[in-house]
Symmetry: C2
DNA sequence: TTGTAAGCGTTATCAG
DNA sequence: CTGATAACGCTTACAA
């Protein structure tokens, strides 16, 4: 999964055999307890009754197994298995317990970059035996994105032991106060004003430097950048681009783009190409804008004279028909390290930068 | 009460005074209310005290507002606002109430097609004042995808009034029994064996017919299809393709693809082009496979002789450098109608097919 | 080790 | 409309 350039699509479904039904329904003959459990989820009480122990003991088996005798533990566990019992995290959390639930709040489910981060984090959480609850924090639809406070407070009520925020969530202050007490880690975004919040993100300064070094190494001197003021990420990348250019004694030609879509990238690239001294290389703040630029460049027949680079190394960049040089920000590592930070009880609110890598493809050739 | 105006608003961080922990017992005297609420979420009791009404009345205001006098309603509401009170859905659900929560279980968060469905559904749910909780139902990582039972049972414990399953979730039987009693609607997948479950999906038969009609209309006679046995969706589309061909008195050339990635589509297309009588048009079961095919076709310089079509009309298809003719399955409508079905109390477990639309782009031209 | 009882925040019921 | 009380499933003192 997640191999660069190819990605399975929607259509694959898991055509497995219908899984064995571990049902709470009373179909396990001899137990007299089963009459009660018909039609509803088995509770701790049902388990206790079947195992012939007390309710508290059952609870103990799950919370501190070491303090219960192996024999009784076994009795409880097999009773639980027979009834298909699963602890009710909801009821548990009502008690104020910060248990094994970890909330994952993703800013934009559409964004494939965030998906990669989330996926890696979920794997890490699952390995650690935690229950990662992935939710979308942002309301879709009308107007500018805004925080879904209902969802946030619901997750908060669940008393997660930690909260992983992936991407730029609109109103972090609310989130922070809502889950008051849980550890928070932000992935793929800046911590912003939030206090005592750890964050893990890609090192955009290093990434842009990789791009510029690469292009300068190819002989390019006049290099343009399509970016702008639209978001913290965009602003950071513009700065990083300019700084990297200065390191080489060059001045970058920055053009602002209204948004960061293919179309906007296309238009911005045309504007750059129409300059008196047009750039021989164009860097995009993301892959989509860069693809728009690439389209413009190829349309003008400049495919082998003007280099184009993207950022994020989404699977778009790896498609054969596109072949866009792009910066891989290390999303999997970002996700993994964010999860580690969340799980490590004595981690401090650090800010971790993950080192990026340049994926060179056909779109960036030698300067003319 | 002394609390008036002294309680910090929610947006104001509690950075200043460290939250004093107040013993939860024995403090319900006449002590000013604000002392108690420091450091913890306001509860219905806090609101009742501040508004000078009973706990039950506060509950009533939220559950059946019409049965409470406007004056008291106002008192309660402003007290709630002052305290930053939000009902605790978790506690509510413990009680067995099927309230305004709707669970959304998405099979694969990576899949942009499902994203579109989910987005439309969330908008519809929000319009209806429901709280849509978007979660991922499938565990990432090792091996074949399998259902995250913990997440499912957690959502079930929330006692959602409805459950929207988007995409092909591995073990529907478990899901159905878990949320026993809630209405379930499946979007963008077949109901499978599940009983009494409504479903909304694209009409793939119609979609494939659109494709074949289009190609035949362009003069194509030898038409290939890249698809296979990998999933119910793939199987359905193969059948639909063959049936549509038969309608025109033609026989389709179907080639199986190991998976449905760009790379696999590329290989399959090469195999088709190497036939003794190669097809003049290639239909892919999805956009990604079709893009692989398109790459092969263009590589061989057959770009204007061999037509290629995709399915799903993902944004890949619309990119200028790709320009892939594709079937738009109406994902937004699927999501919207699924949400409607979920909300309508007397909807029956129907199976709704949404009519697709063909988006013609540069990849499908006249037959030679 | 085990059992008992209180309590988490809410809703439902029911007599005032 | 109020106030009291019992659930919901679970945890956690505290007592046996």
């Amino acid at each position: 999964v997640g191999a660069t350039g190819t990605r399975p699509s929607l259509s694959e479904a898991r055509s497995g055999t219908a899984a064995r039904r571990v049902s709470p329904v009373g179909d396990n003959g001899r137990v007299s307890a089963n009459a009660e459990t018909a039609g509803r989820r088995a509770t701790i009480r049902d388990v206790a009754r079947l195992a012939g122990v007390s309710k508290s003991l059952v609870s103990l088996v799950y919370s501190s197994p070491e303090s219960v005798s192996p024999e009784r533990t076994q009795r409880v566990l097999s009773a639980a298995a027979e009834l298909g019992y699963r602890p009710n995290h909801i009821a548990r959390s009502l008690n104020g317990v910060r248990g094994d639930v970890v909330g994952i709040l993703v800013a934009d489910p559409h964004n494939p970059v965030l998906d990669d981060v989330v996926e890696a984090a979920r794997v890490a959480l699952e390995r650690a035996g935690r229950l990662g609850l992935l939710t979308s924090a942002v309301l879709p639809g009308t107007g500018p994105a805004h925080l879904d406070r209902d969802v946030v407070s619901m997750v908060a009520d669940l008393r997660p032991s930690g909260l992983l925020v992936v991407g730029s969530v609109p109103d972090m202050a609310t989130v922070v106060t809502a889950v008051d007490g849980a550890r928070i880690v932000i992935a793929s975004a800046r911590a912003g004003g939030a206090r005592d919040v750890a964050s893990v993100r890609g090192d955009d300064d290093a990434g842009m430097r990789l791009v510029v070094d690469h292009l300068v190494g190819l002989g390019h001197r006049r290099i343009g950048h399509i970016g702008g003021e639209g978001s913290p990420v965009a602003v950071g990348r513009v700065r990083a681009f300019s700084a990297a250019m200065v390191e080489h004694g060059l001045e970058g030609d920055v053009i602002e783009s209204s948004d960061f879509t293919e179309r906007a990238g296309y238009r911005a690239a045309l504007a750059l190409l129409d300059r008196d001294e047009p750039p021989t290389a164009i860097t995009g703040l993301n892959d989509l804008a860069a693809i728009g630029a690439l389209t413009a460049v190829r349309e003008r027949g400049l495919g082998d004279r003007v280099a184009v680079t993207g950022y994020d190394n989404t699977y778009l960049a790896g498609l054969g028909l596109i072949g866009l040089t792009s910066v891989e920000p290390g999303n999997a590592e970002i996700g993994r390290r964010a999860a580690e930070l969340l799980l490590d009880p004595d981690a401090s609110p650090v800010e971790i930068l993950v080192a990026p890598e340049l994926m060179v493809r056909a779109s960036s050739g030698l300067a003319p």
